[in-house]
Each structure stands twice: as C-alpha cells, then as structure tokens.
C-alpha cells in the first residue's frame, strides 16, 4: 500500500472529512432527530451525550452489546482455574497429609473457585468493555467539533459519519439543520 494509506491506517494521515455533526439541548429532541435522519436513509449514525439517552439506540440503530457472552466464558474459566490449581497442588505436585483429609476434595475448592469466577468475570467485563469500545483512544476526529466539549456537560450531539454512502457534506448538514440541530458543522480530522 502507499505511504499515505499506511499513515491513514495507523491514524496519522492527512485530515479528511469525518462527519457532519449537530447539537440539541435535550435528549428527547436528539432521539427524535435521530429517528428522522435514519428514516432519510442514513445508516452510519452516532450520538454523543453526557449520559446514556434512553431510546437513542433504537433511533439510530446501535446494535445490542455482546459483552455478556464474553463474561460468561471468562467466569467459567475462572472456576476451572481454581479447581485445577487446587487439584494439581494437593493431589499431584506435592502430596502432604493435612489434618487427615484427602489430598483433593471438591468441598474445599468452593470458596476459591467462587472468588476466581468473580475476579475473572470482573476483568472480562471491564477490559472487554473498553476493548469493544476501542478505547482508550486519546484522539478522535469528533473532538474537532466546536461543541464537542459540551457533550459531557449539557449538549446532545448527532453524528452522521462521512463513510455513510449517502453522505454529502452540504446536503447532510442541511438535513441535520432540517431535523432541528444547532451548530451544525462538517468536522474534519
């Protein structure tokens, strides 16, 4: 591939259009607008809000989270690890008679098995969440939006990404305004 492509790939390429973004001052308008824009046939949509806005997922078509499955598997792994460890240590690696008890017994693996289950699933959900979200990511084109900093305060922002087949800077911006967005900008980055 060319150098530019490579640069783009690793995220230091030339600036180019990222999206058209517009702001609303309350969640209901955002949801409403989101639904309208989608009906116009836009597919690559996103929103930015200071708190999770109820209904937005339906409105702009955010898929349900897959995190749950990941966690299930890891919790199982946790329990397995515990039991295997205790069995290996007691019954295989060094058999010591302790209190006349058997070298291995399930009864005394329960507490640790439980704890490791919890520990593993906690890590799975925490790290998994960031991984799926593609975070940490210090730079993001949307930060170039003039109102981006209010997305964590009191503004609700609708984003139509440039890689949307139907995207056209002027036209899309116009659409955004038409659904009542303020501060509409075509953001590069």
């Amino acid at each position: 591939m060319t150098l530019d492509e490579l640069k783009d790939k690793i995220g230091i390429g030339e600036d180019k259009v990222y999206a058209a973004m517009g702001a609303f001052d309350n969640p209901d308008d955002l949801v409403e607008a989101g639904r309208k824009i989608r009906e116009m046939g836009y597919t690559k949509l996103d929103a930015m809000s200071p708190f999770p806005v109820h209904g937005i997922d339906d409105a702009i078509g955010v898929p349900a989270s897959k995190l749950g499955w990941l966690v299930i598997w890891f919790s199982a792994l946790g329990a397995l690890t515990a039991v295997t460890l205790i069995w290996y240590v007691g019954a295989v690696d060094y058999r010591l008679v302790i209190g006349g008890k058997p070298f291995f017994d399930f009864s005394y693996t329960i507490p640790i098995a439980f704890e490791l289950t919890v520990l593993f699933s906690a890590f799975a959900s925490f790290l998994g969440m960031w991984a799926i979200n593609g975070l940490p990511r210090l730079y993001h084109p949307s930060f170039n939006y003039s109102q981006a900093h209010r997305a964590s305060d009191d503004l609700f922002i609708l984003v139509v990404e440039a890689n949307d087949p139907k995207f056209n800077p002027q036209q899309t911006a116009e659409h955004l305004r038409s659904v009542g967005a303020g501060d509409v900008e075509v953001v590069e980055g």
Partner: protein, 215 residues
Amino acid sequence: MAVIFPKSSDIILKVAGAVAGIGAVIAVAAFTYYTYPTVIDTGYQPVQPVPYSHKLHAGQLGLDCYYCHSTVYKAAFAAVPATSTCMNCHTQVKKDSPRLEPVRQSYATGKPVPWVQIHRLPDYVYFNHSAHLSAGVSCVSCHGRIDQMIEVHQEKPLNMAMCLECHRDPAPNVRPANLVTKLDWVPDRDPREIGAEIVAQKHLDPPTNCSGCHR
C-alpha cells in the same frame, strides 16, 4: 474545543504499550532464570589455599573417597581430612613442593588449613551422609564427577526440589552399596532397573514429609 492530544498520540500510545509489555515479559523471564537454583547455586568454585586436585588423587591415583572423607559411612557429616592424613603420603611424595607449603605449615604448627567450604546446606536442613550411603546413593548424585574436577566446584543445585526429586523416585540414583564411591561406574544395563531392584530389596522408602529433613 481544543483537541488535547495530537493525532499521533494513539499510535505512540500503542507502540509504548507494546514495548512496555514485551519489556515486562523479558524482565520476569530474566528474574526467574537468574534466581533459578540450578543457575545461581551451581558452579561455585572458590580458590582453595592449596590447589588440591581431586582429578589427580581420586581420578588418576584412584584413591577411594573414603580414604580421606573417612566418616561418611558412620556419621551424618563427611569429614574433611586432617592434615596428618595428607602427610601420610606427602612426607615422602613431593615433600618439598612449594604448593604444599600450607599443608606442611599446618602439620608443624597445628593450625588448620583453611579450606573453603563448597557444598553447603541451610542450618535447618539435616542431611545425613551415612543414611544415603547405606541406601546406596552414590557421591556422584549430589557432588557430580569429583574425580574429573581439578579444583572442585558445586555441580548440583542442592535445593529442596532436587532432594524431593530423588526422594520421590530414588531408583535412578540407587546403586549397589559397594559401588557408591566408584564415581566412574558404568552400569551394564539401565541403572533405573538396578536401582529399582535394590529399592525393592532394601525396602527403601525415602521420606517426603517435613520432619524427614527439618527438625
């Protein structure tokens, strides 16, 4: 708003992360390796006051270990010979060799030759030479081919793992009792078989519980 981090920051972040990760792995690996008993404990070869060659005495001249280390069959500790033992021969042989000066000194003055100890176990370990020899464990098993060392060095880690390995499966290290000091012994068949027979016949059951070695 002003972008806080430049565009390139993420790739830098990724690279840095990768480097750190690899670094950590290497560090752990190195630590494990350099603190590993077989690495840290073996090969200790201090300079002795007299360059006594086991290769010469035990190897070529064929002195039995027992000649000098005379207590091994009866006592827990293997004796380092008294100067007089050396002088049994060295009053005739090489009696003017300058390298033997310290020995002659010691013999005359009664001051000991300050040999440097090589094989050493912690204070809380109670190793008994006589027990192991009577079981048929050869010197080689713990000290290596002393008869091939000019100056002796520690060959085995002598750590708990090593003791346990043999206590759990003595067969490979057990040989007929009369051959324990025969360091160059070459078994005619699989030594494990021979060992297994002796273990069975002597009912050897080396302890692996704590008080076997720690009191």
